[in-house]
């Protein structure tokens, strides 16, 4: 059996008459944006919450990241208030603004030990796949499904196909999980993983720390996969040990014994296999309007004329037009207006360390209008301050912000203006994702930091 097969079996409650499997959900993460209509639906139907203790709510998507944390937008205030009311009524744990545990939902879950190996984990957010790094089955759901999980702690599901992504070799310096994730999506395409659950394996994946594995699993959804996961090993167990909500004492020992089983059986069958070599991988960045439109830093903006006439070519032309790019321009000549280091993809302590290393002793280039670091959670922020990373960023000219989703989706005031080009460590470069008319280039934290100090995209390896 694959790891997914095992997790599926363990969470199977029953087969429904209509052919779907009823799957038990161990952990339900909730945030302000996709939950109000679900709570409302529950109330309208006169239903109760099945098991409030399994739910963890955080305020992250819409919250301001300025030091005062003052909200001015009446709609945002109403949405936050709705979450607070819903959680208070149902006795659901909520990490509010100002709480020492607050952060982006997919950073906070693992960090607090609310998400553990072997769990089934859902959230009304597609990047729930992040939590698969723990050796868990974690996937995003819609609001109707949020309502279903609130009411039943279960979801009717059809099993996805197994897919293994095998990555061998050691990454070169300055290259890591984000480059791998982008390169994979570039090769598989944004729909390459549709209908599949990806298990990341191989020596390169084993060699990643938990933060890197989370970055990789986070981006699974950008290849269309329902979930991504990494088998449990020492790195996993060491990460979970001592987390506030992790088991302790005898329960810890029993849990670790069980978690050690969360690996694929030898010879497990995968419907699809995909292989890559980490050794030859160069830093990656996107040029277009979806994450599969990706190149290496030494490449040029692609030329639609090289594609045959047809929808693909038109699509590329659209993307270039939106991004304000001329075919054939070297990627290194592009100059971002803003730099955003943050999001559930790349705002953990390891990400900030990698960026700070590049920034140290340098200044943000004059052509950069704004460079900001938005830590993934309060604990990450505090640790970065303790390690002196925050000071390095501030000295270099970065803004040092409070935790939240921020410019990953721009629901709060942090966003791009029309036409602005952004070097962003987030996960989506869709049209308008970071603000109407904004132009997003996805890259790693180290690459974003290098772009900030150089004033243009550049190979971070020149700065190491």
């Amino acid at each position: 059996m694959t790891l997914y097969d095992k997790l599926w079996e363990q969470h199977r409650v029953m087969e429904l008459e209509d052919g779907a499997t009823l799957l038990y959900i161990d952990r339900h993460l909730v945030h302000e944006v996709t939950s109000p209509q679900a709570f409302e639906g529950l109330r309208l139907a006169g239903r109760k919450i099945w098991r409030a203790g399994r739910i963890l709510a955080v305020e992250d998507h819409i919250v301001p990241t300025t030091a005062d944390r003052e909200m001015h937008d009446p709609a945002a205030i109403e949405q936050i208030q709705a979450l607070r009311d819903n959680c208070a009524q149902a006795d659901i744990a909520l990490y509010r603004l100002g709480d020492a545990r607050q952060g982006i939902v997919h950073v906070t879950g693992p960090e607090q030990g609310a998400c553990l190996p072997g769990m089934s984990i859902v959230c009304g957010d597609s990047h729930t796949s992040t939590n698969g790094a723990l050796g868990a089955l974690a996937f995003g759901i819609g609001t109707s499904e949020v309502e279903c999980v609130l009411a039943t702690q279960c979801l009717p599901m059809h099993k996805a196909q197994n897919m293994r992504v095998q990555v061998e070799g050691n990454f070169g310096p300055g290259v890591g999980a984000k480059d791998l994730a982008l390169a994979l999506i570039g090769r598989m395409g944004t729909a390459g993983g549709t209908g599949h659950v990806i298990e990341y394996a191989g020596s390169a994946v084993r060699g990643l720390d938990m933060e890197g594995r989370m970055t990789l699993c986070n981006m699974s959804i950008e290849s269309g996969a329902r979930a991504g996961m990494v088998a449990v090993d020492d790195v996993t167990v060491d990460y979970v040990r001592g987390r506030p909500l992790a088991p302790t004492g005898a329960a810890w020992e029993a849990a670790v014994d069980a978690w050690r089983q969360l690996v694929p059986d030898p010879g497990a069958h995968f419907a699809r296999e995909f292989c890559m070599d980490a050794r030859t991988l160069a830093p990656q960045l996107t040029w277009g309007t979806n994450p599969e439109m990706v190149v290496s830093i030494h490449d040029r903006v692609p030329d639609p004329a090289e594609l045959p006439q047809g929808p693909q070519r038109t699509h590329m032309q659209h993307a270039l037009e939106y991004m304000g790019l001329a075919p054939g321009t070297p990627m290194q000549e592009l100059r971002p207006d803003k730099v955003f280091i943050g999001s559930c993809t790349n705002a953990r302590i390891a990400d900030l360390r990698a960026a700070a290393q590049v920034v140290q002793g340098r200044r943000v280039a004059a052509n950069i209008r704004q460079a900001m670091v938005v830590p993934g959670s309060v604990p990450v922020r505090l640790q970065a301050e303790q390690e002196g990373l925050a000071q390095l960023f501030v000295d270099a000219g970065f803004e040092w912000r409070e935790p939240g989703c921020s410019m990953c989706l721009g629901m709060n005031p942090d966003r791009l203006q029309p036409g602005e080009r952004c070097a962003s460590t987030s996960n989506r470069n869709f049209e308008g994702r970071q603000g109407r008319g904004g132009r997003t280039h996805l890259l790693s934290p180290a690459m974003a930091a290098a772009a900030a100090v150089a004033g243009h995209f550049v190979d971070v390896r020149e700065f190491l």
């Binding site: 139907a45 729909a191 549709t194 329902r226």
Partner: protein, 217 residues
């Protein structure tokens, strides 16, 4: 939310000739601040549909429409079927995308493929997704281009799409989805009929993995 029963309808088709249409494009983030399920029809495809920037609470009827966008062209004004390319609905899990399509008036979306979460959201709301071969979709695009008022007839119970020339294309439907479309369905209510089975599962698991059940009773 059970949708009203649908068996057979004919409707005009609007062609959205792009692959990988993402849910950020279907409903941009600023409208996700709403805590309601309604009010998204007017902002469907907002950034393509309007030339000026929109915010929640705006009177969208007064905004400047983009005359080049397909839904703003008079020949597609009454379209109730959206024809598009592969991987429609990729990206964010926002169910608002489905609510917006339905409130605008779309009853079905035809494409070679859909993203997983979007498809589940559509199923849960009774928005019919029709998956057809790339070549068939291509021929429908050609048909829409060629003929003003091009319409298709959808027969849910027969799982069949009929074009104006009388060509029939059958499509697959999951049993649950079909039942929901034809009869309406309260899935949560159905699951809750099995509450004892869920409780028994929890009982079993609380012994096997007690650390997951600190709240076990």
């Amino acid at each position: 939310m059970p949708a009203s029963a649908v068996t057979r309808f004919s409707a005009c088709v609007a062609p959205l000739d792009r692959p990988n249409v993402d849910t950020d494009a279907i409903v941009p983030k600023q409208y996700l601040k709403s805590i309601r399920r309604t009010g998204f029809g007017a902002v469907l495809f907002d950034e393509w549909r309007y030339l000026d920037a929109g915010e929640p609470g705006d009177d969208h009827g007064k905004r400047r429409q983009n005359p080049d966008f397909v839904l703003n062209q008079s020949r597609y004004r009454n379209a109730r079927i959206l024809l598009t390319r592969e991987n429609f609905g990729c990206g964010s899990s926002r169910e608002h995308a489905v609510w917006a399509l339905q409130e605008y008036g779309f009853r079905a979306v035809v494409a070679p493929s859909f993203a997983d979460i979007f498809a589940t959201n559509a199923d849960n709301n009774g928005l019919l997704l029709i998956r057809l071969e790339v070549a068939v979709v291509e021929s429908l695009f050609a048909g829409v281009q060629a003929q003003q008022g091009y319409s298709l007839t959808v027969d849910v119970s027969q799982q069949r799409l009929v074009d104006p020339a009388g060509h029939e294309h059958s499509f697959a439907l999951d049993a649950v989805v079909r039942r929901r479309l034809l009869h309406g369905l309260d899935r949560i209510g159905e699951i809750l009929r099995h509450r004892e089975v869920i409780r028994a599962y929890e009982q079993r698991r609380s012994v096997q993995v007690p650390w997951l059940f600190p709240d076990a009773t």
